[in-house]
Symmetry: C2
Subunit: 384 residues, 2 copies
């Protein structure tokens, strides 16, 4: 890993490569087995001799293994959580060994619906097995074995990343010292499911989707773009949108008497939608949103209380007051169930107008919470 001047600043992890781990086979919770299966991942920092400084970062719906640094000195943007990962940053690469993998079912290097099915020589499309949060966790477990890590200092994630983090602590308690669960939930609300469904419908309504079989032709770009636009509305708050765009027009001089006129908020969403189709696969969007919808600790374990009964990790749970997609009360439910089980939990409901996406923004209260929690946890286990 080398540093380059220019676009890459002092506190970046610098140039990084995505690596690929290939397992011989992987059995999904649905019972289907695929062989082989690839997991794309990146690491930042160095694993110490005691192998007790490893932190797994779990990404959200549209994330990838590329969480920090740059793939090339010419990249306009670093990895998706670069603000939080690097030398002296909350996930301090001077201290910790950070791992991030693209989820199974994804489209950024890990095996997913757009991957070639070795049995047919064609992309899986809808023949890909159903993916669950537990499948994502199990795939990550293979990666940790490969890296020789027996216990994580921490597993951290926001939104769907938080679901994976919680699931880790429940399914592999002996492998998790601590969990950082940000803006997440033990199960999506009916409204959240509804919003995911209209996004999926936007994709499936697009004739170019062709029941998931579009890899030889023009894909469902318009549908995927619309799904992303719907998503973006839910990632921001009403207030933040008001402050960012208000009711301003993109071009003030166009007459109102046409359909050409656009509010700034409309241009912003169109821009977000258009950008997304260049980097994301529509079928992955369907599979991953379904994984989110089906995640349900209460249902899977009988109750929230039972879900957390065998957890041994210490928890940092963070919600954002203006997050209406993963509202604070859902984080509080997790905290209450953990505390009712006598577990060690720190909880902060961070006051912010910026909505769900706060976890991706440069936000000092979030940085401090993560940084302090990790320091304390690392001190604790270093004494063991």
């Amino acid at each position: 890993m080398e540093k380059t001047p220019g676009v890459i600043n002092e506190r970046s992890v610098g140039l990084v490569n995505t690596r690929h781990l290939i397992f011989e086979k992987f059995t999904f919770r649905s019972g289907r087995t695929l062989s082989p299966v690839t997991l794309a991942y990146e690491t930042y920092g160095t694993l110490n001799r005691r192998k007790n400084n490893a932190i797994l970062i779990a990404h959200a719906l549209s994330g990838s293994a590329h969480a920090a640094g740059y793939h090339s000195p010419h990249d306009a943007h670093p990895g998706w959580w670069d603000i939080y990962i690097g030398p002296g940053k909350p996930f301090d690469t001077g201290q910790y060994f950070i791992i991030c993998a693209n989820v199974i079912g994804g489209c950024s290097g890990s095996t997913g619906p757009s991957s070639i099915n070795p049995e047919t020589g064609k992309p899986f499309g809808l023949d890909f097995p159903m993916v669950t949060i537990q499948d994502m966790v199990n795939a990550q477990m293979h990666l940790l074995s490969h890296l020789g890590i027996e216990k994580l200092l921490s597993i951290a994630g926001g939104s769907m990343g938080g679901m994976q983090a919680i699931k880790w602590a429940i399914v592999y308690p002996e492998m998790v010292n601590s969990v950082i669960a940000i803006a997440t939930s033990a199960s999506l609300s009916a409204q959240g499911i509804a919003l995911n469904e209209v996004g999926r419908q936007a994709i499936m309504n697009d004739p170019n989707w062709n029941h998931g079989d579009y890899y030889d032709s023009k894909g469902p770009d318009a549908g995927l773009s619309l799904a992303r636009m719907i998503g973006h509305i839910t990632y921001l708050s009403d207030r933040h949108m008001h402050e960012k765009f208000g009711r301003r027009f993109q071009k003030e001089d166009l007459p109102l008497s046409t359909f050409k006129n656009e509010f700034m908020v409309e241009s912003y969403l169109h821009h977000q939608g258009n950008k997304f189709v260049d980097r994301f696969d529509a079928n992955s969007y369907l599979y991953i949103t379904k994984a989110i919808d089906y995640f349900d600790l209460k249902k899977d374990y009988g109750s929230m209380h039972e879900a957390f009964a065998n957890v041994t990790a210490n928890f940092l749970v963070i919600s954002f007051t203006s997050d209406w997609l993963y509202p604070s009360f859902q984080s509080k439910e997790i905290v209450q169930a953990l505390r009712a089980n006598g577990k060690n939990v720190m909880y902060t409901d961070i006051e912010t107008d910026m909505g769900h996406d706060t976890f991706l923004l440069d936000y000092e209260p979030l940085k401090k919470n993560i940084s302090n929690f990790l320091k304390r946890e690392f001190e604790r286990i270093s004494k063991e």
Copy 2:
């Protein structure tokens, strides 16, 4: 108007017909003139000799002139606000003369994009003039002249209907004794515009939309249905959706490992979407949502204070605590601007979990507020 037994209950206005007023010409705010123009309307109750008991009901985005009663004894459902309009109901047809017209630009009898352009002999489609809330009000004004009504006891509406009601009081102050503005706003928020835009995009993404020229072929049903699904999410609250659907599945026995499985909330939205395409025109959806987006009292009059300077009507303003599409603070802005101008305003922020759509539901606090306000207003003007 005759009463029939069976489906039509005692407190219904009974069987009603939609009538059609044809004006020779109508000039839109955009400057375009159409000739002729039709306005579909219904009336309930009797205009008294002093002609001081007339109430105009303004409908919301998806409404029609059919606000109360039944078109046939076989109708499964009465008009859209039948709960509120009828003998002994808040809009008491024993006392008041109620009028409701389909908005211009609509698709339920009034001239709109699906109407035949006499110049071409084909439907207007996107050649229909841009429609504003003020155009809707102006068309209603023609109807009142036709009915010989010089001054309304009240004008009432929820959502976009509230925008029309407020606009009436501003533009024709001498014709309006009172206004009942429910769950409305002086201008939509950026989030509201964004949500309307993703609905429009769903329609315009549908290849059957064909730039608005679809009247000779299969229309953009999938797109319009999706727009309606998005809309429905915003009409309910997270809490109400949770209570109504929770995370229950439509069919509990289907395996999770398929895309066939549906949460109840998904079925509900699909059902709402499918029903909607039978009664609504996609181009009207585009035009009317644009009219809502462009409505902006601050911008049109320089400030909220100036907007209400010449109003003489008494106001009843009602918002709902769980309405996130037209949040309470937007109603409070209207109330503050009216009070700063020394106007007579009653304001209630009704505690409810049912979100924006509360104004369409059988909700006692809303009924009482409307009923009492109208009684007081009718007494006041009866003494004049």
